[in-house]
């Protein structure tokens, strides 16, 4: 049987990365000096599993590295070593190195050997640091040998084995016959059974073992092979392995165990037929081939992604499919012999089918939902490291980690969240001195919270820092020409300015928040996910960033619109309202493009047929069509379309899979009649409209 271990690699890597996360969060929570035994145990188990798995699946470097960590953790667990801050830090760094090694192993790359070696040295240093060790009595683990050594240089020609199981041997699940058979598989063997110890029937315990054996192996096999057979039972029996020397050798020199002299009749000595088929030895070439296969497969599987699904979700799905099958067969029967009198039943059946299909769709979508903790789990480490670097005292609180959200959203929200949390630590929370001076506790708090609200997931990053500097932001915006010095803006409007490209209020560009990747990129990323971002801030008390995201990227609530013969979908979340306008609302300011007044605001008009180059369309006069007022990236505009068709949930399909990204379009969907409709990307469309307007000042209107 040839074996391809590569098939288990993906699961191994997944659980190893999970194990690393467990180790990391466990280490971060660890209180040096007063570590919780169960917490250490959990970290130890994770390391232990990674070590065992990596060894089994052939990643020896990972296994060896983890072994050192495991040893350290084991000593901590047993109380032989104190949990010091230094040890925890070294273990944390080792987790990082291990993550790199596993990533390299998964992707078929090479880990950074220098880093591994350096970290290894660090671990060894901690391990060697006996001061931290709790003194224990010398406990050298010496493997005791119970059998006689083979004497001199003379090679034996066979072995004589005395095997006397203790009475309880069978109660360990071992079986003397199995051991004898195994010995028989090593070499040609003869055996004699000694029943001398067998008690009278009345006093015989059927579950005990009373027999002993004298065995002879007639081939000069390696003694280690014999010892291996007895490995499991060496404490549960007496056994002696005595070499049988060639005739030229003086047998008197070898200690002969006394032949049991109580043996009475010949019939008591039961010769054993012990000739099981020899154990198959695997050809090493086979194994090498398997190794190579594994290497190839390992590289290929690195990129594929999988998802762990709660078994209950699968069960629900299976039940749902069962319902669907029942409905289908019911409809099938109805169709076989259909009469108009049964039309009501047909309608019922179809309604049921629709309901089941919808439920099935929802259940399938739920499979993609994973807890946001997958994204939150990195923050304890980040806050720990960063607060040290910044010289600030910061406590991270998290809540709602089990809130579920689509896997794709999780993958894409990670970086924006990191940026927001970093900002909060860097700019929001003050130094302990500043905080003390302001009469606040020295330790600042950052609260990361997730919750479901409506069809959205809301993530809040709230800190009790100094709040956003309104005046500074305003001054900067004036300096950048984003607003005029005499503009009157609400607080909210001022805070929104930090999302403008290139805006950064940090007095110095620190290596924490960095340069370049600004809040504009964060907002764009969140918008691309179909979400929105808002800021709340109170001077001196702190600020909060509220990120709102759709639960799933696979389905979208859309408004179907028509322009000429073409149908498009506008995401419902982007739509503020749809209106028919009259002349009084229109405002064609010279040099500012077409705008219309909506309550107090003047908003630009985007003529969809012009921007999308649609020749055939119904309405040229703005008053003949409909304006769909939309918002994206904080800007609003009115889309001029021919008609509104209806609202529906659509499944989002990629255009890029076979084509490429199209400006102003975020994807496509398939309508009920099987035709394709494109989904409009509102921010993208606004950019497109700006380009389309070219040098005309409509562009100005759009950015205002």
């Amino acid at each position: 049987m040839s074996f391809d271990m590569a098939q288990f690699h993906q699961v191994f890597f997944e659980e190893s990365f999970e194990g690393l996360d467990i180790m990391e969060s466990g280490l971060l929570d660890m209180d040096p000096g007063a570590a919780d035994a169960e917490a250490i145990n959990a970290i130890f188990r994770a390391a232990h599993s990674i070590k065992g798995g990596s060894g089994t699946f052939g990643f020896m470097n990972v296994s060896e590295f983890t072994h050192v960590m495991e040893t350290l953790l084991d000593e901590m667990r047993d109380g032989r070593r104190q949990v010091t801050g230094d040890a925890v830090n070294v273990l944390l760094q080792s987790v990082d190195v291990l993550r790199d090694m596993l990533t390299a192993a998964r992707d078929g790359g090479e880990p950074d050997e220098e880093r591994v070696t350096a970290q290894r040295a660090d671990l060894d240093r901690v391990l060697a640091d006996r001061d931290a060790g709790v003194p224990v009595g010398d406990a050298p683990e010496v493997e005791g040998s119970t059998s006689a050594e083979s004497p001199g240089d003379v090679q034996p020609i066979g072995w004589r084995i005395v095997f006397r199981p203790h009475q309880h041997l069978m109660r360990t699940g071992n079986d003397p016959l199995r051991i004898i058979r195994e010995l028989g598989s090593l070499a040609e063997m003869s055996a004699e059974c000694d029943i001398a110890e067998l008690p009278d029937l009345e006093s015989l315990e059927p579950e005990d073992s009373y027999l002993s054996w004298n065995l002879r192996l007639h081939e000069p096999i390696d003694k280690a092979q014999i010892d291996d057979v007895f490995e499991w039972v060496e404490d549960d029996c007496d056994f002696a392995v005595i070499p049988v020397m060639p005739d030229s050798y003086d047998p008197a020199a070898t200690a002969q165990p006394a032949e049991p002299d109580t043996a009475t009749a010949d019939t008591d000595k039961v010769p054993l037929q012990a000739a099981p088929p020899p154990v198959e030895r695997r050809d090493t070439a086979d194994r090498r081939k398997a190794d190579e296969r594994r290497k190839h497969a390992g590289g290929a599987t690195g990129a594929s992604s999988s998802i762990r699904v709660d078994i209950h979700k699968i069960d629900t799905l299976i039940n749902m499919v069962g319902e669907l099958v029942i409905t289908q067969s019911m409809l099938g029967m109805l169709g076989d012999d259909f009469q108009m009198s049964r039309v009501e039943r047909l309608k019922e059946g179809l309604a049921q089918l629709e309901r089941h299909t919808r439920e099935l769709q929802e259940s399938v979508m739920r499979i993609r939902m994973v807890p946001i903790s997958f994204s939150f789990s990195r923050f304890p480490r980040l806050v720990h490291d960063l607060s040290q670097k910044l010289g600030k005292k910061i406590e991270l609180k998290m809540s709602g980690e089990n809130t579920e959200v689509d896997k794709t959203v999780i993958e894409k929200i990670g970086d924006p969240l990191v940026h927001l949390v970093r900002n909060s630590l860097d700019h929001g929370i003050e130094t302990p001195e500043e905080r003390a001076a302001a009469g606040k506790p020295e330790t600042g708090t950052v609260h990361l919270a997730a919750s479901h609200r409506g069809g959205n997931i809301v993530i809040e990053i709230r800190d009790d820092g100094r709040g956003l500097p309104r005046d500074k932001i305003f001054a900067k915006a004036v300096e950048r020409g984003l607003v005029k010095a005499d503009d009157h803006l609400s607080d909210k409007e001022v805070y929104d300015l930090i999302f403008q490209p290139g805006f950064s209020t940090a007095e110095q560009v620190s290596d924490v928040s960095g340069r370049g990747v600004g809040m504009d990129v964060v907002r764009r990323n969140i918008n691309e996910l179909g979400g929105a971002i808002e800021i709340e801030s109170t001077p001196g008390e702190g600020s909060a960033i509220v990120v709102r995201l759709p639960l799933t990227l696979a389905i979208l609530d859309g408004q179907t619109i028509r322009i000429g013969d073409e149908t498009y979908i506008v995401p419902l979340v982007s739509i503020i309202e749809s209106i028919q306008i009259d002349d009084s609302m229109l405002n064609k300011v010279a040099g500012r493009g077409e705008t219309f007044r909506l309550r107090e605001e003047y908003l630009p008009i985007v003529r969809m047929h012009e921007v999308f180059g649609i020749d055939e369309h119904d309405a040229d006069e703005l008053t003949d069509g409909i304006l769909v007022v939309v918002e994206g990236e904080g800007r609003k505009c009115g889309l001029f379309v021919d008609d509104l068709l209806g609202q529906q949930q659509v499944v989002i399909k990629s255009l890029e899979a076979n084509y490429r990204k199209v400006e102003g379009i975020s994807g496509a969907t398939i309508l009920g009649d099987g035709s394709v409709a494109l989904i409009i990307d509102i921010p993208g469309l606004m950019r497109l409209a700006k380009q389309h307007a070219g040098r005309s000042d409509a562009a100005m209107a759009l950015t205002a």
Partner: protein, 168 residues
């Protein structure tokens, strides 16, 4: 899109170990595509237009749940534009994407003609003779019963299609 206008390709016995090409007509010239890269042949049907795409990109269709772009080969190669008729077909081709996975593309051609088996030795390299089709899209030429068949390179069609910008 009814099932009738989808012609399933039957695997042709590969006796001579040569390469099989599906040949089709385009402005009275015969062209060929490696049959292994042909996914299916469909009748022309209404497509969904892509805004601001080049004129040869007719739009996208729903191919059993995936969105596949359809391009008009006449327009792609700057040949005279023709009305679509009953004979007009869309050949859906697919090839490995250098970026991973596989990409599909529909090609509008005048009509499908035949399946041609050519030994690799029979394929002549492309002469620089100022044909309509850019040389990077041509695999080579093969002589079939006295007339030339130009073999197209599906991979390069997919590539250039992706690279050419629509919003330029």
């Amino acid at each position: 899109m009814s099932q009738d206008n989808i012609v399933a390709l039957q695997a042709v016995d590969d006796e001579d170990a040569g390469t099989q090409y599906l040949t089709f007509m385009l402005a009275d010239e015969q062209y060929g595509l490696n049959i292994l890269q042909v996914q299916e042949i469909r009748g022309w049907e209404q497509v969904t237009r892509i805004p601001n795409a080049p004129a040869y990109l007719r739009g996208v269709i729903n191919l059993r749940g995936t969105i596949v772009p359809v391009l008009d080969l006449r327009r792609r190669f700057d040949m005279p534009v023709a009305e679509y008729t009953k004979e007009t077909v869309v050949i859906v081709v697919h090839a490995a994407d250098p970026a991973g996975g596989e990409r599909s593309l529909g090609l509008v051609v005048d009509a499908v003609s035949d399946v041609l088996v050519a030994q690799d030795d029979d394929v002549a390299s492309t002469p620089d003779f100022g044909a309509n089709v850019p040389t990077e899209n041509i695999l080579g030429l093969v002589n079939a019963d006295g007339h030339m068949v130009m073999l197209l390179d599906v991979g390069s069609l997919l590539e250039t299609d992706r690279a050419v910008g629509g919003d330029a």
